[in-house]
Amino acid sequence: MNTNSNSYTMMFAVAICVVMSTVLAFLANALEPTQKAAAEFDRQKNVMMAAGLIQPGDARSQEELQALFAERVTEVTIDVTTGEPLAGTPEEVAAARKSDPKRYRVVGTVTKPDGSVDAIILPISGKGLWSTLYGYLALEADRNHVKGIQFYKHGETPGLGGEVENPAWTALWKGKEIRDANGQIAITIKKGKVDEKVPAEKAHYVDGLSGATITSKGVQTFVRADLKAFDKYLSRGK
């Protein structure tokens, strides 16, 4: 057989592509439910980490953590234009979320064992440098102080923009106030280090990530935009 003829080469190329894509498509389909479950568990862990319910690297098993999530976290879909929870069957709610994900969003509430509100969990997402970042911002029950922030999905440069995941950086957010005395959203990511001597900076500013100015700017922009979007929901309980 002449393996160097053009027609053989063409046929071989087509055949190997077909075989390879069939194998990969089959595998992707077979693994999809497991992958989805793993991603969902990861999301739940991030909600709990943002709320300070668990620490990174918690040694508890998946079952225990999922039970903790079910016990302490309630998630509801709200209409951000009114701030009210969306009524309807789970299917209707899911359909609404799909039709307008910017308007119908899932927010979480973390309760203490005694039933009082421990934290309000807001989903945040937006563009960084290369990718869309997804995360959670947890607010204290007063809805003004940051309890924690956590990013669970992004495609920023490891070591630079990817440092949004770094616990040392997310810890800087803790205790910052999102609004100033006039009720305006004032949370800011400063380029460089926060000057602790300036009261406004101490209260609202977070250090920027060095080497990741665009990611830092992006995070500030979408955190502010999302806080604005949740304005009605946040002022509702007051």
Partner: protein, 219 residues
Amino acid sequence: MTSTATPATKSQPLFGPEEKKAILDPLWDNNPIALQVLGICSALAVTTRLDASIVMGISVICVLAMANVVISVMRNLIPSKIRVIVQLVVVSGAVIIVDQLLRAYAFDLAKQLGVFVSLIITNCIVMGRLEGYAMGNPPWRSLLDGIGNGLGYAWIICVVGAVREILGSGKLLGMQVIPDGLYEAGYVNNGLMVLAPGAFLLLGVIVWVQRAISGYVEK
């Protein structure tokens, strides 16, 4: 004219000297990182922690073994004009399989390794073994060669990963190994070890030590 027996007609032992060479050589005498200086980029990038190095090592072993066998089985059918492209298709396929499995069963590590799993495709060791070994050797030996080279890569990045984790964050496999007393006495973790230049220095030292012991001389 006398007829000579070709190697193919002789019955071959399952684990003869050729096979032994295929799996043992890359571990030390012909190590892909220390001797051939291949696969350096991922060796620098993923070695901040030992667990990531181990998973990366296992992934490369799987990809190399899979791709080596597939290419070796097809080696007489592959048209020489498109052989590198065919090798790439097979490597990419194997990498995607490993990546998908990691995402399903080791989500945290898959997230941490991120893009570097996909970048196994560009790991020069893989292409080098396919072109240099699997294209000219039978499947069983190619499998051993793949595993051997994967192991040769894996043990080096595991050493780098262990040293970087101990010096850089005072831990090993996530558990603290440097006693609190030492920190109280003024010991500080070495920040350089967490960054890529630390890996570069360390890898340089390993290559140097390995070459000094194995007596390698550049020709």
